[in-house]
Each structure stands twice: as structure tokens, then as C-alpha cells.
Symmetry: C2
Subunit: 508 residues, 2 copies
């Protein structure tokens, strides 16, 4: 029975667990907590959740869904539309789900990506009933070999009562050996994570669980969704150039060597563009210790700039995906995929001395960063791993274009409308205008550097005017409290952060 | 020469470096960066800085002063009044210095206490020219044995060009052996910090530097300033009782054992009172992995509740200081003092699973915490170690009395006026009214729990009204942006956060 899958399901007794997505979804009951594979659209469970949505047409079915990070294949969208999601943890990036979150219909718990499984392991949040994990294979001991992400899959499978595996035949068996599954011990028995360099392997190649926990196996051939990043443009290229210049100066000053230190880049267009900018840099033998590995990682490999990359997932554009996965052997010995609590672990990040490059939605004149909330209220995606990295990094860089919406929004504001990263954790702010080096500066100094280096007119003058008025009030971090959020209020009311006069000039 | 100090200065050649405070201060030049011992009023250099202030009466003298944390003996006050401080890093708690910071006269860089020496080691901030370290003795190899704090002293002494030692004869030689000096290696050679339990000793008993760097030794008999904490009152006792109840329930649920996990308590009256509350708790064999050890630590030892305490300093009230230091041998094998980058290290905090209890100046309905800025602008003390602990802890608790200034200020507000700890890092908020358990909750849920558990009337109704209006606007984290800071503005304008109607009722 199902012997055609003997290379994919190597423990014979498990072959009889092969079933349909609908039958597998039948294990899921109303009120359960489901832990699902998937990190930045990579390696997500693809068919069982959609079968679950289908079931919800006919019966009341609400679940808490935990994943590694964001999902592809419209899984979050479909589950939201089917009304299945009561609670969603710890990250998402789907427009339909986002809208439901912002209407208060789905309770979204936006967590540091390294922390979800710590809270599960210590039973501080509701336990996982069923884990659904995409795999390339199940080994002859019943261990699960993940596909293009590890995310939280290992701990979900270990902690769940029951496990459903989606074997994805489109994912090459050559991926086996790419993963390094290390699970910290329970406290107080916990020991150091023995990673001293990004290429250190410290765990197993597959997720080891008792095979009898695997209650269903579904065969799929659905591809990962491609990444949605945009190619570099003039602004992102300028941001990259400012950062390369900055690091060149750090090397000149003897603070860093030409191989820098291991780099992390957040998900998305700007971080990918910044990393792409390192192709034309003087640096050599770079390494990455990051969460998602994007197109730029492989472009840096191909350019001979990058020696090794550690991540928790590989998320590529359609074209790059074909190139990389059709010839993964070429890259395999320079790659490792880890559980996100290891890729994002404070201990390892601090030890290795990560150069962390993440994206800001907005930053303020004192260096506080908002990564998540539009106008302070509406969730965009989530904090993801940016906090894990920024807090513990050697250097925390936040990048953003200086304006948005054709100039109606300034990304640098008097006070951010929501804080994800405090002034204490932000070393560098960079826009296409320039770079502000905030290290060792007091707030009043930071304000001058940020305004002069990162902002262009008319917002530069507006911010200097704000600071002048705030300084009259005094304080370590001067503000005019009743005007601190006035730019956001003005945008909400008028569709622009510009004062009516400047707005007219811009429009003219 | 100076042979009377042979037990205190055991390397004979150094005895000829004994000199006056004024002569020692003569090494300090205008524009230098000085690294000084001292952490939470303990073990601070006491006479050289005052001699420096004296010199500044007659000459232009501006320095950058770095310490472990806050100083006693009016050192910050005297240096401020003398106009010596151009820049101050990373923590202070002196009213005169605070006022100068808030006037913009002293540039204050408010840092996570674990991070200052990392930035120094990697030369990301200006290097230390001279270190001034209080010691009980200098060993026969020239190593410095600190007094009641380690703080940043070890790294200051290691990185400085020159070192001045203040030998404090009032501190017993019995303190020798209390300290554990571990210095992380430079990256990329850095290895794990091998601390697996609070009592692990991983370093040396003294700060080892080339003895020729010690250019001057000054003999003093000035005492540490006593701590300024107030005794527990009805509100702090209620806060402690809520927390003990909470932990009792965690034990009942099997999440923690009766010895809990290593505890950290921030500096100050509330955290000290909370720890004192554990004397009358059912817990046993407690341990602390904290930064400052206060009166409550020794009360817990005496009550047989506490097995071991690791810290970076010992700061006691006048009475407790006499009791403890006159008989330190009684406690010595249950104590260790570490460099603050080790006591506050993310790696160790995450590994041990610290229960972190810190004080909030104010918190908002979504769980963001302001630890530092009065009305968002005026610095109180600094973030200290609260961020090191809260971000990486097993559980992050923030405690505050629900009101201040006789009810004119609510400590729970719609939006904090400054964020030091984001919603992502705050698990528990506790006031004398009750305790809000925020784990696994979305923002809209957090708001209800915080308002109902931590706030009493009339602020409870005012906050519910705010939430109702905010929910009309929608969003994951609903706010009425133009009113979000209105409580602070009203306090600034009228002297009360209460609406005129409620204010009249309260006053009536």
C-alpha cells in the first residue's frame, strides 16, 4: 500500500497513514490549537488547512493557528474567509487576514519570533493539539525532514498530541541534510547553544518524534508561493550605497574586518535590496546569520561575496526559485536551516555579533522605530524577528524610504505612533537621503543627526521647527506633547502629513 | 614607604603610587573619557571625582563620565555643579544631574546596562582614557579586588590607558572572594558564558591588569551611601501579595516548582517591597540572578527562603548595611558579584529563565511601559537593566502603584508618553488594585484585562470610555490619536489627569 512513496515515507508502517487532505483535516476539532509549518511563505502546510476551510462551510469551526511566520498559498486568506481563525500567532502578512485583525475579528498575538515556542514549552500559552508539518520525507525512524523552512515546526511536532505530515513531492530529496534541528532543554537543565560561527551544526537533520504520533500523511505537489519583493529601485539602491559606505568606514577605522560580522536582513524589498548592494562592495568572505534567506543571499553566493548563510527559511522570487532549487546541490554545503528560536536566539545573536538590518515603517527624531502599526493603530504584518535581532545585535540598522505616498507621508516623524524598537536598541537609521549614526548620542543630538541626514524638505524644516518648539519646553527628550502625534492626525484627517501650505506647493 | 598598607597593596612596587586624591585627579585632562566604578550607589570612587570637581573651580575641565550605574556620595551632584560633566553614560539617579540633563546641559546616554562595555570593547563609542576603581585591595600580582560592586569596573580597567585605584579601608578584606570577574572574548572568538545556575563561578576573584597601568592609589575611608528605598507600605504590600498569589497559581498549574526560577528585582522601593513579600510565601529554596542586591535579599536569606543570590552590587539601607557588612562571612558563600554585562547578559537571562520584576513609571492599556520619562520628556533615572531582563526573561513583570500625586496622576494611561518596554516584552502588569496576566492576549484583550485588574475609579471608567471611542476607529491596537496623550497634556496644563468634573469630586 502506497509503496510508490517508499523513498518519501521510509518507515513502512507509516505508509498506511497516507490519506486525503479532507480526511487528515478531520482530526481537527473546534477550539483546538494548531501548530503549522511555514515561515515567510516557505515550507507551509498547503492542503490540509484548505480542506479545513472547506469543512468550515458546513460546521462551526474556530481554531487558534500558530505558525513559524507568514504563509503563502492564500492559506491565511482562505482560513480567514472561512471564519476559522479565532486567534493567530505569531506573524502574518496577508491582506485579508490583516483586515480581519484590524476589525478586531481575529485576535492576533504579534510576538518576537524566537519566543513562541519558549512560551509553549513552559505552557504559558495554550498547548498545541495538532501539528501540521510539510516535509520532503519521513525517515526510517519516523523523523520528519522539513522542506524550505524549519520555523517552529520541530517544537510544534514535539509538543503536539498528534502530527499530520504533508509530503511535498515537488521538493527535491536533495534538501535532506540542509536542516539542523536543535531544541533547547527545559530549564533549569538548559545548557549553552554551542553555535560559535554561522556554519556550526549542532542538532539533527530531521525532527525526531515518536512515529505513532503521526496520525495522517497527505501527499501534495503544490509549490511554495514566490516571494513578493520588488526589485531594487533608485531609493533602495541609495540606501544600500549609504550602508556600504558606512561599513567601509567602520573597516577603515579598524572596528570591523573586510569580512564584517555575520549579517541578518529582515524580510522584504528594502532589506533584500540592501543585501544586493553588497555585491558591489569591497567586502569579502561575508556570512549571514539570518531568519529568511532571500534572492540576495544567492546573488551574493554567485558573486563570490558570501561564504555561508544560516537561516530558518528560503523564500525566493519565481525566477530565482527555479535557479536555486533546480541545482540546490551547488549551494547546499554553504547553507543551514534552523528552528527560528535558534536562528533568532538572543544568546547566539549577541555571541556572534550580528549586523542586523531591518525595515522601519516609520522612525522618530529620537530614534524610536515603528515596524508594525500604520498610524499607530492598524497592523501591517508584525514585529517578526526584528526585535530578536535589534536588541541583541552588534549593530542595529533600520532602513526606510524617507517618504511614502508620493510625499504625503514622512517616514521620519516627531514621535512614532507605535514603538516596536526603542531608542535604546537603534544604532543606525538610513534612508535614501543619508545615514544617521546614533551610537553614543543623547536624544537632542540624535534629533539633529536624524533630521539632517535622513530627511529632505519640506519635512526637514518642519521637523527642525518642531524641535525648536520642543526645546523651549525642555527635557531630556523634548516634545510638544499635544503636537507629537499631530502629523499622523493630519494625515488621517487630510490625507497628508504636510501642512496645507506645503501641500499646496507640492501639488502645484 | 606606605608599608602600613601591605595587606591592602600586596604588590610592593605599587605602594609608592599612593598619593593624594588631588594628585591622582591631576592625571585627568579636559576632554577625557573617564570610566568609574559604582553601581547603584555601591562601590563608587569617592574622593578622586570630588578632587576633580575642586580642580574645575580653577580651570576649564569637561569630561565624559561612564560608570556602572548610579553613584552615591553626591558625586554626580558635585561634578554637575562644578560643570565637569559634558556627557554621562549609562545611568544616573541624582536630582541635580537630572535637572541638568533635562535642561540639555549634560548629554546623557541612557543605555541598557549590559551594553556599555560591549560598545567600548568594539570601539563604537569613545575609548576610556582613565579608569577610577574603588577596591578593597590590590593583589600581589597587581589585580584589583573591587568593593561592594563590580559594575563595569573590570572592563573599564582593562580598556583604560591608566588606572587610578581608591583603596577603601572601611570595606572589610572579608569581601575578597565575593567577586567573579568574567570578561567575554572579542568576536568572532567569543564562546558561551558557562553559567548554568546562579551560583556558578566562571571567572577570577579580581580584575587582572598589567600593574604598570596603575598610576595612582588613593586611600579612603568614606562609606558607601545608604540606599534611599522606603519601607513597604499598604500599596507595595498589596502588589507583593498579588504577585505571590500569581506565582502560587503558576506552581499549582505545574508551570513552576516551589523554588520558582531565579528572580531579578529592579532597584527601588517597589521591587524591594515585592521581594520582601516573598518572606511570607509558600516558596522555598529561591535563588536570585539580579543586578542590585537590596535589603530584601538579606531578609530572604535570614528567613531561610533564599539559597543563593548573584548580583553586580550590594546596596543596603544604613541599618541593614551595618548588619550585613559586620558579618559578611555569614552570607559570603551564598553570594557572588559579577560584571554587569554578565549579571544582565541576554544569554544567561534567557538560559536560566529569569523571573524579572521591574518598576514602571507608567504603563498603557496595551501593555507598553515607560520606565524613564516623566510626561514623555523629562528623564527620571534611566532604563537601567530593566530592558536586559524584560526582553530575555521567562516572565517580565512590571509593577507600579495605580495612582500618583494623590490621584492626580494615573499610572495606567491610554498611551504611554515614552516607551522603554514594548507590549511584546511585558507579560504581567501589577498594581495594588490587582494583576493583569497579558500572556497570549491580543491588544484589545490586554486593554480589558489591564483596565479591569489594575485600575480603580474614576480612571477605570475614563479608560473604558477611551477604549470604546478608540474601538469605533478600528485597528489591531485601537487609539484615538488626537486624544492618546491628552491625559499627559491635561496634567501639564491643569496639574491633574482627571477631567475637571472628576477632579472637583475628588477635591470635594
Amino acid at each position: 500500500m502506497h509503496d510508490e512513496y517508499r523513498d518519501r515515507i521510509r518507515l513502512p508502517l507509516l505508509r498506511e497513514r497516507v490519506t486525503s487532505a479532507a480526511a487528515a483535516a478531520g482530526w481537527i476539532q473546534d477550539g483546538m490549537t494548531i501548530g503549522m509549518s511555514g515561515f515567510t511563505r516557505a515550507g507551509d502546510a498547503k492542503v490540509v488547512p484548505l480542506a479545513l476551510a472547506e469543512r468550515a462551510r458546513h460546521e462551526h469551526l474556530k481554531i487558534t493557528l500558530m505558525t513559524g511566520a507568514s504563509l503563502g498559498n492564500d492559506v491565511d486568506k482562505t482560513l480567514t474567509e472561512a471564519g476559522v481563525l479565532a486567534r493567530r500567532i505569531p506573524f502574518q502578512s496577508d491582506p485579508v487576514l490583516r483586515a480581519a485583525i484590524n476589525r478586531g475579528e481575529v485576535m492576533y498575538v504579534d510576538q518576537h519570533l524566537s519566543e513562541t515556542v519558549e512560551m509553549l514549552r513552559t505552557r504559558q500559552i495554550a498547548p498545541i493539539d495538532i501539528a501540521i508539518i510539510e516535509a520532503i520525507a519521513i525517515t526510517d525512524t519516523g523523523a520528519i525532514v522539513p522542506t524550505t523552512s524549519v520555523g517552529n515546526s520541530a517544537t510544534f511536532a514535539i509538543l503536539a498530541d498528534k502530527v499530520i505530515v504533508e509530503i511535498n513531492l515537488t521538493q527535491s530529496l536533495e534538501l535532506e541534510g540542509l536542516h539542523d534541528i536543535f531544541i533547547p532543554k527545559h530549564r533549569p537543565q538548559r545548557e549553552p547553544i554551542p553555535i560559535m560561527t554561522p556554519s556550526d551544526r549542532v542538532g539533527t537533520m530531521a525532527i525526531e518524534i515518536p512515529p505513532e504520533k503521526i496520525v495522517a500523511i497527505v501527499i501534495t505537489e503544490k509549490l511554495d508561493s514566490s516571494s513578493t519583493i520588488l526589485p531594487p529601485d533608485a531609493e533602495t539602491a541609495a540606501i544600500a550605497a549609504h550602508l556600504v559606505d558606512f561599513f567601509r568606514e567602520e573597516v577603515r577605522l579598524g572596528r570591523l574586518t573586510e569580512s564584517l560580522l555575520p549579517m541578518q536582513a529582515g524580510i522584504g524589498t528594502i532589506a533584500n535590496a540592501v543585501m544586493t548592494g553588497f555585491i558591489d562592495s569591497p567586502f569579502k568572505h561575508l556570512t549571514m546569520y539570518s531568519e529568511v534567506l532571500q534572492d540576495s543571499t544567492f546573488a551574493l553566493f554567485d558573486a563570490g561575496k558570501l561564504d555561508f548563510a544560516s537561516g530558518s527559511s528560503i523564500t525566493l522570487s519565481s525566477q530565482k526559485s527555479k535557479e536555486v532549487f533546480s541545482d540546490i546541490v551547488r549551494y547546499k554545503d554553504r547553507l543551514v536551516l534552523r528552528p527560528q528560536e535558534v536562528s533568532n536566539h538572543p544568546e547566539v545573536i549577541r555571541r556572534l555579533g550580528i549586523l542586523a538590518i531591518n525595515t522601519a515603517l516609520e522612525a522618530d527624531i529620537y530614534g524610536n522605530v515603528n515596524s508594525t502599526h500604520v498610524l499607530g493603530t492598524h497592523m501591517m504584518n508584525g514585529i517578526g524577528g526584528s526585535g530578536d535581532f535589534a536588541r541583541n545585535a552588534y549593530l542595529a540598522v533600520f532602513a526606510t524610504k524617507s517618504i511614502a505616498k508620493g510625499g504625503k507621508i514622512s517616514s521620519i516623524v516627531p514621535m512614532v505612533s507605535h514603538v516596536d524598537h526603542t531608542e535604546h536598541d537603534v544604532d543606525i537609521i538610513v534612508t535614501e537621503v543619508g545615514l544617521a549614526d546614533l551610537r553614543g548620542l543623547a536624544p537632542r543630538e540624535r534629533a539633529q543627526v536624524i533630521i539632517d541626514h535622513c530627511v529632505s524638505e519640506p519635512y526637514r524644516k518642519m521637523l527642525h521647527d518642531y524641535v525648536a518648539e520642543a526645546n523651549q519646553r525642555g527635557g531630556h527628550t523634548p516634545h510638544v506633547l499635544e503636537k507629537a502625534l499631530s502629523w499622523h492626525v493630519r494625515y488621517h484627517d487630510t490625507g497628508s502629513m504636510l501642512l496645507p501650505k506645503e501641500n499646496a506647493e507640492i501639488s502645484a
